[in-house]
């Protein structure tokens, strides 16, 4: 092709592209109006109820058990010396071997930390709903879909993301967790839901019995005739569109096959011990993060929500809580490293993590094997949390707020996700998030 012809064609193509609206999967004609910073966001619900005292304040047992040993046990997220003695959070008998840091420097140094953030609820249910809905679950019952749209629905409806662009990787199916991937809001709902797996159920336990031997049908010779026959049957039935119990999430046929192939891959990898697990994987959180890494590798989603929760053992065992906190940190370090190993996501992903609630200032009366007292979550101290974020557009080494200077709210995290992925104006215009919720970039 001659250069002039090429330029002419290229010019026409460019003009056409500029003039023709882009029809997004959501049916929107134009892309979202907000800025877009990175193409991918991974949000970690650093959940289960984390006390500020043992995490961001780095006081270890000095501020909980009356033992004079402060220190940092989150080596990958925070800077600071580890406790000098009374080590129980590592591996081996009694947990005396801490898990070495796996990030070259703690996230605090290459990201931004909001050291004192206000939660809206002292409980898991309210806190998780704050993280996904940007509000409080007022009037919403347990085991009920959120009443207000979730971050997944905002992204899909206003950002035009397809179903496999948004993922919720849960640490289980307890409580309302599997219901948080979409709301029952009439303007949003399952059509805009995020995909959901609770990998430790789907791929390891019950799911293995129900799903592991499924065949992957040939797309032309087998799947196509199945679909055509089903379409005929559905046409004859003239279904009302409800789809019976639990419908779909508006995954396209192609996406469905992609998800099924992913499931098959996971069963194979589980059998061959090939899941990309963190170096130390000895609890549910670390295993969940391993599967989250698999989701990232396979789908490279625009938005992935990963839920942890093992620290909730603090209700009855403080030593176990410390170990789980240490492992949650280890798991997030592994997650960050894994993101950087995916070419499409490296340098193009923002990670944000927030506990859904804190824990009490005063202990309950339950003693563990070290005679340390356990902590529930119901008081003012339970409303104290922190948020950390890192990514190409996130200022490095910045700490905002402190123990006597709370800045930001738990709901800011979901708004920050919407900001990064370009739908914040639409979410604000919808007017359904908690008053005062803002992008953390606007609080810097």
């Amino acid at each position: 092709m001659k250069r002039r012809t090429f330029l002419k064609n290229a010019g026409l193509a460019t003009a056409g592209a500029a003039a023709a609206p882009i029809i997004l999967p959501s049916g929107r004609l134009f892309a979202a109006s907000g800025r877009r910073m990175t193409d991918h966001v991974v949000m970690v619900a650093f959940a289960g109820g984390v006390r500020q005292q043992e995490s961001i304040l780095r006081r270890y047992v000095d501020d909980s058990q009356g033992e004079p040993y402060p220190g940092n046990i989150m080596y990958n997220l925070l800077s600071g010396e580890a406790p000098a003695a009374k080590i129980v959070y590592g591996t081996g008998v009694g947990g005396i071997q801490p898990i070495p840091a796996i990030l070259p420097q703690p996230m605090e140094q290459f990201g931004t930390t909001f050291a004192e953030v206000s939660a809206l609820s002292a409980g898991h249910f309210g806190g998780m709903n704050s993280l996904v809905q940007g509000g409080t679950p007022g009037g919403q019952g347990l085991k009920q879909r959120p009443l207000q749209p979730t971050v997944f629905e905002y992204l899909r409806r206003h950002g035009g993301y397809k179903a496999t662009d948004t993922w919720f990787v849960g640490n289980g199916i307890g409580g309302s967790l599997p219901l948080l991937n979409h709301s029952g809001h009439p303007n949003y709902g399952p059509e805009f839901a995020g995909n959901f797996f609770a990998p430790l159920v789907t791929f390891v336990n019950e799911g293995e019995y129900a799903f592991a031997d499924a065949a992957v049908y040939h797309p032309d010779n087998e799947l196509d005739p199945i679909r055509r026959m089903k379409a005929f049957l559905d046409q004859q039935f003239a279904a009302d569109g409800t789809g019976g119990f639990g419908g779909g999430l508006n995954n396209t046929d192609e996406e469905k096959e992609q998800i099924k192939a992913f499931m098959q891959l996971m069963y194979d990898k589980v059998e061959n011990s090939a899941i990309q697990l963190p170096p130390v994987t000895d609890n549910g959180d670390t295993a969940t993060v391993g599967f989250a890494c698999e989701v990232l590798s396979y789908f490279q989603p625009a938005f992935t929500f990963v839920n942890l929760g093992a620290v909730d053992s603090c209700h009855s065992n403080f030593s176990s809580y410390l170990g789980s906190l240490h492992r949650a940190d280890h798991a997030v370090g592994h997650l960050w490293n894994h993101i950087q190993s995916i070419p499409e996501m490296a340098g193009n992903t923002t990670l944000i993590l927030t506990p859904e609630c804190g824990r009490n200032l005063q202990p309950n009366n339950i003693l563990d094997e070290n005679d340390w007292r356990a902590y529930d979550h119901s008081d003012e101290n339970s409303m104290r949390i922190f948020t950390m974020m890192a990514g190409p557009d996130v200022p490095q080494g910045l700490t905002i707020g402190g123990e006597d200077n709370p800045i930001g709210m738990v709901t800011d995290s979901m708004m920050t996700v919407c900001d990064i992925l370009g739908v914040m104006p639409e979410v604000q215009a919808a007017g359904m998030v908690h008053a005062g919720t803002d992008s953390l970039f606007n609080r810097m």
Binding site: P178, A210, P225, D234, F237, F245, K260
Partner: protein, 170 residues
């Protein structure tokens, strides 16, 4: 301890009362009861199926239709847990059906049977899954479809029926 006075009288009164009740009700002849099955007329249309099956119903009926035996409560619980761990329930249903099809105990007709007498196969499949006979138009469509799609096996046909909207309703 020996009872005297009014206590003794009351005891005697109660005993007579109980004896009376036993005579009145305890010796009544037992009614003759017979149990049996009423023939259920198989409907020819879909108009009556306006209620969605619950997850439990769909899973247990599917198992019965594919294996000819009831699903145990333990297995049902496991499958329900697995379903709860997958966001897209359409995918969960598709994968479960496919998983069942891989079970060596699944009761599938031979492909040769389907090829030799497609009308009988079509009738049986409609009755098995949809509890009704096909209309003449449906039978014709199915017959043509099977003839023009040589890759279609009983497994694939059963899969299409098990995943149909009608099968989700009763």
């Amino acid at each position: 301890m020996k009872m005297t006075g009014p206590w003794k009288l009351r005891l005697h009164g109660n005993a007579w009362c109980m004896l009376g009740m036993m005579l009145a009700f305890g010796c009544a002849p037992e009614p003759e009861v017979t149990y049996g099955l009423q023939p259920l007329e198989i409907a020819a249309s879909t108009v009556d199926k306006d209620r969605a099956k619950s997850m439990d119903q769909w899973i247990t009926i599917l198992h019965a239709d594919l294996f000819g035996v009831a699903l145990g409560s333990g297995e049902l619980f496991e499958i329900k847990q697995a379903f709860a761990s997958v966001g897209d329930q359409e995918i969960a249903r598709e994968v479960l059906v496919s998983n069942f099809m891989r079970d060596p105990d699944v009761q599938l007709p031979d492909a040769a049977v389907m090829a030799q007498d497609p009308d009988a196969f079509i009738n049986d499949t409609y009755v098995r899954f949809l509890v009704r006979y096909p209309t003449e138009a449906e039978r014709q469509w199915m017959r043509n479809f099977l003839a023009s799609n040589p890759n279609m096996t009983p497994e694939l046909v059963y899969t299409a029926f098990a995943l149909s909207e009608e099968y989700l309703h009763y």
